[in-house]
Symmetry: C4
Subunit: 235 residues, 4 copies
Amino acid sequence: MKENIRNLIDNNKSWQGRYFGFFIQFLIIVSVISFSLETLPDLSDTQRQILNAIELFCVLVFTLEYLMRIYVAPKKLKFIFSFFGIIDLLAILPFYLSFGIDLRSLRMLRLFRLFRLLKLVRYNRAMLQFTKAMILAKEQIVLFMGVTLILIYFSAVGIYYFENEAQPEHFSSIFDSLWWAIITLTTVGYGDVYPITMGGKMFTFFILLIGLGIVAIPTGIISSSLTKVVEEKKE
Amino acid sequence: MKENIRNLIDNNKSWQGRYFGFFIQFLIIVSVISFSLETLPDLSDTQRQILNAIELFCVLVFTLEYLMRIYVAPKKLKFIFSFFGIIDLLAILPFYLSFGIDLRSLRMLRLFRLFRLLKLVRYNRAMLQFTKAMILAKEQIVLFMGVTLILIYFSAVGIYYFENEAQPEHFSSIFDSLWWAIITLTTVGYGDVYPITMGGKMFTFFILLIGLGIVAIPTGIISSSLTKVVEEKKE
Amino acid sequence: MKENIRNLIDNNKSWQGRYFGFFIQFLIIVSVISFSLETLPDLSDTQRQILNAIELFCVLVFTLEYLMRIYVAPKKLKFIFSFFGIIDLLAILPFYLSFGIDLRSLRMLRLFRLFRLLKLVRYNRAMLQFTKAMILAKEQIVLFMGVTLILIYFSAVGIYYFENEAQPEHFSSIFDSLWWAIITLTTVGYGDVYPITMGGKMFTFFILLIGLGIVAIPTGIISSSLTKVVEEKKE
Amino acid sequence: MKENIRNLIDNNKSWQGRYFGFFIQFLIIVSVISFSLETLPDLSDTQRQILNAIELFCVLVFTLEYLMRIYVAPKKLKFIFSFFGIIDLLAILPFYLSFGIDLRSLRMLRLFRLFRLLKLVRYNRAMLQFTKAMILAKEQIVLFMGVTLILIYFSAVGIYYFENEAQPEHFSSIFDSLWWAIITLTTVGYGDVYPITMGGKMFTFFILLIGLGIVAIPTGIISSSLTKVVEEKKE
């Protein structure tokens, strides 16, 4: 029997394993959509009850899956404290914790249900590749994130000195200016804050000319790291 | 005679074939411009009649072309159900269907006229290369689109929890927040919705620092896949 | 004497040639700044007279340079009809033409003075490399610009059908929608037009997910073509 | 004793050296945060005194560090006029200068405290790599920045001629139009200025189609230069 269960949950080449995989992935997506629907402001009581029923069913299946995975694992403790073991636990824990807890912290707890999305990593090849690429380039990403942060900080200080007097409501301190700096240097440009003085505009002009290449560095690192991982796999 | 027609519509090295190709491409563009002009709100009756006449002429030529292509095809059924065969039919079908149909669904039907643009693929080398590149990287694009969608979803959930109370009209549910997430992470930044709370701004700050590299991955995959296709062709 | 003049204007290794080159580049930039200053709305008469004097001086030097280049050219007609010969002429022509012309068309004529900036190509290595890269990838850029244009057109048609009824003032026809499409797909996102219906927002969501990779293709082609040109030069 | 101090401040392999390095980096970040907090508009007197005390402590440590570095340097003058020697001096100078100076210019002087961030370069590997990459590609970046500037200028002139009459308050001169050009071509798109005439919109359409590839060139150069530096180091 242990062999049968292992065939079901661990072997993605048998047809049982493939169907079980699809079923779990389907439930994860159903569970996430149901989570999103719960945030709609004008739900009727019936609708809420349906969503709760769906959630209950998902949790039951995920709990069963978790217990089966522990059952078939050769070293049970090793699985429980592995990455996927912890994710599997976090995906069901919020439901069981919600019984002994007052309503206020429930909202925060619900967010933990989103750990279920990480369960998809087990089935999604791209996410495995992506996770590998991130680990491979971790050190570089952290280092250049530092360069990017320093550039953003310098931009924020500069614009603060140019715009603070003209727009004290938008550039009241360097912390406010940091918001402008990230929105501008990532080229999002909402338009809620922008320089209006001649000096501030010229400063923005030069910061944009110089800065775009720097902010794009982490993007480039992730991309090239990913290319390496994909090509290694092909060989 | 069959040989002459084949020379005309299939042989892009003879001068007849080249001129016929240019003529069809020209008609496609005329037909698309005429389609756009029909949407102008203040057309006079004369202008409408001219546009209808142009449309009639285009459909006649495209029908003739379609029949000729069937006539010269060695295996007629194979052509009719091929990619280009279906496109050629869809390009003229809306016109003939519009006779037996009431006015309301006509609007939708008109949109099908745009399939004519896909007829350009036959003549446009870049579109062939592009289509090849997309097929080559199809699996990867779909997989990483998944990673991108999960990031966008996480961002939407996060901003919902930070901004929902402060701006219930803009962040009323996770579905509303998804609109913010796509507009921000693609750096479009219309400025119709943006965070105003301290927590929401800090969340956006970190999401932008981390997220831009991830959203750019499908772009990178398409580009590098295209480079491969172009270079293969050169060799 | 011909040898001396050739040394001055064509030999960028002699010190005379180098200084002459710097002088011409300096005058080009002075002339362009003076052109920009003329557009300031509140100039006094004295300021206008100074700008006119600067313009007169620049034209005189550029005319002298043009005549000298013709004088030292081995084949005079070949130089006159070469790229740089035409640019040199266009840089001074507006001034001489402005005598026999009424005031209204003068405004347009003034714009031709900006051809002087193209004179910089002669001295700027990057611009030569850039021009080479553009010529090398000309065919590809034109072809993929076509793919980009078709995507932009499809987006415009789609948003027109979703938003036309809700916002007839912003999406009154496909031509208006094209403005939205280019501003959105290049991620500029001014915020003057954006979808407000559920359907329009979902359409934008998918167009952005799919479209960004396509719009970035010409950018990628220019960059990789330039890399080739720069590396070829190094070898 | 000189050996001990050298071990402390120059040897990042001994545990003393490592802890000293962490301590200095920590102080730099504390000092920068304290600098940012000083710009908050509503600080109480106690809070200001705490910030002043922190600043005093940081300056004392940095001064001590500077003196120790001079003490252990084999050639003292060479260190003082080296890049890091000057940075170390600039990081403490503003504090000492502020005693003999009136209040108005103090604001400017405070900005010099940010040179402390450059002290991080000594400890941050990414910043060293980044500095190297910038030096390696310096000539190219400067040259193509020129191409970018010319494109931005042309765009500004064009939009000025299209929009000046319709929106004299936003496009009053070419200098105003330059602000539009940089914000549009970097795709920031705040939405404070945008074309409203048909001609201006069509001009923007084509400038965006053509221009994005050009503005992205310096970004590409920095990225590829950095990749080279990182890979060289690995070998």
